[in-house]
């Protein structure tokens, strides 16, 4: 079991709940969602409790995350996009915290389950669709008709654009999910090698240094990936929101 790299993704019921035959138990996944959400909330409240004119270290971290996301959203979607700032900020902070919390040994990684990332990606997709249609009406479909394309190529290009639009939630969710899943499996596999080699006496223990170094390097890489994937998810959300607000202009 210790060597099973898949074990970390198992969901365990902590508080069993059954609603008309549908299992709605409070699981370890739910627990870590709560931990991620309360962790970010508590951090931001604590960091801003000083309300310093000259920020303390933690306060400047909170301010940096705020300005990082607001800058990203404004660059991608313009000042109109700032209406979606709380949403993008929540997405980024929630995913980042879930990814980072998952880096603790024995902790569960919420974003390593496709259903979670798919739900978030579909939420973005539906918001983009609804906002795009409400703001622009049928002009929203100009998104699928790039300007400056010969009329003969038009059906082909429009078909490609429509398909790429519809597959957005897939790529959006699978990118985050697969990165977290693969990274955690890889770390676990290499960590398992340490234990396995350690069982072969002195030579094995000496050889176990190599997978140990690999595990350390991968752990560092995974911290980067944890941040990067949250960033990519938020960045793509900004770009999609821009499509909803300005479907004509690319």
């Amino acid at each position: 079991m210790a060597n099973d790299p898949i074990h970390q993704f198992h969901i365990n019921r902590l508080v069993p709940l059954d609603f008309n035959g549908v299992d709605l138990s409070f699981t370890n996944s739910s627990l870590f969602m709560v931990i991620a959400a309360t962790g970010v909330s508590a951090f931001l409240v604590w960091a801003t409790s000083g309300r310093g004119l000259v920020p303390s270290r933690v306060q400047s971290v909170a301010e940096m995350s705020y300005e990082f996301i607001s800058g990203m959203l404004r660059d991608a979607a313009g000042s109109e996009g700032m209406k979606f700032f709380p949403f993008v900020f929540s997405l980024f902070m929630f995913i980042l915290m879930a990814n980072l919390v998952g880096m603790f040994p024995y902790f569960f990684t919420v974003t390593s389950h496709l259903v979670v990332t798919a739900a978030l990606a579909l939420l973005v997709f539906v918001i983009v669709l609804v906002v795009g249609l409400m703001r622009n009406g049928l002009h929203f479909f100009r998104l699928f008709v790039p300007s400056g394309i010969p009329i003969i190529l038009m059906p082909l290009v429009v078909a490609i654009e429509v398909i790429s639009f519809l597959t957005r939630p897939v790529s959006h969710s699978v990118r985050l999910f697969a990165n977290m899943l693969a990274g955690h499996i890889t770390i676990k596999v290499f960590a398992g090698f340490i234990v396995s080699l350690g069982a072969f006496g002195a030579v094995g223990a000496a050889g176990a240094v190599l997978p140990l170094l690999m595990t350390i390097a991968l752990t560092a890489l995974e911290f980067l990936v944890a941040f990067l994937q949250a960033y990519v998810f938020a960045m793509l959300t900004c770009i999609y929101i821009n499509d909803a607000l300005h479907p004509g202009g690319h």
Binding site: T27, A37, V40, M93, V115, V116
Partner: protein
């Protein structure tokens, strides 16, 4: 779901554990693992048994998280940044205002200085002019006095000369009469003497 199950099965197999198809027949070593998990070896991220639970709790936690972020956390950070921006722009405005004031004071000083300099130079000019005019007037007065005295002196010299010249004729006549009397022994008449003296004088002038 067959797709995910076979996918999961392959992943399972590659990790060296029982696949779902094999699970019934494969070695007992895995039976314990299976039992611990309490269910068939579905790859956990694709196990639909927990989809509903995950979606529900994601909706609850993310919903509350979004609410908290938009109502509490973001306004707090935005407030802090706003206050700082206001403070900085206020300070910059103050600095600008003070610099404007300093510039105005400097301009006023320059203006005052220029005015004072102009006044000083005009006073100097004026007093110089006045002194020059005074000196000129003085000079004219002295010159006029000198010219008057010169004229007077010339007139007096003229008169003296005229008198002297007049006396020269008389002296010449007397001398001539005396010489004639001594040399010739006869007295000449006054008219003759005067005639001779006049002729001599004419001769002198001609020469």
């Amino acid at each position: 779901m067959t797709l995910t199950i076979t996918l999961a099965g392959r992943a399972w197999a590659s990790e060296g554990t029982a696949t779902q198809e094999d699970s019934a027949t494969v070695a007992e070593t895995h039976a314990a693992t299976e039992a611990a998990h309490g269910e068939a070896a579905t790859f956990p991220p694709f196990d639909p048994a927990y989809f509903a639970s995950q979606l529900l709790w994601l909706a609850i936690t993310f919903g509350l998280f979004y609410w908290f972020m938009s109502r509490v956390a973001i306004p707090r950070i935005a407030g802090i940044l706003e206050v700082r921006r206001d403070r900085i722009s206020g300070d910059l405005d103050d600095a600008q205002r003070m610099r404007d004031e300093a510039d105005a004071a400097h301009a006023a000083y320059e203006h005052e200085l220029a005015a004072a300099r102009a006044r000083a130079s005009s006073i100097a000019q004026e007093s110089g002019d006045r002194a020059r005019a005074q000196a000129e007037a003085e000079r004219r007065k002295v010159e006029a006095g000198l010219a008057a005295r010169l004229q007077e002196a010339e007139a007096r010299i003229d008169a003296i000369r005229k008198k002297a010249l007049a006396e020269v004729d008389a002296i010449a006549s007397d001398t001539t009469a005396a010489i004639v009397k001594e040399l010739v022994g006869a007295t000449a008449t006054k008219a003759e003497i005067a005639k001779a003296v006049g002729a001599a004088a004419k001769r002198d002038e001609a020469r």
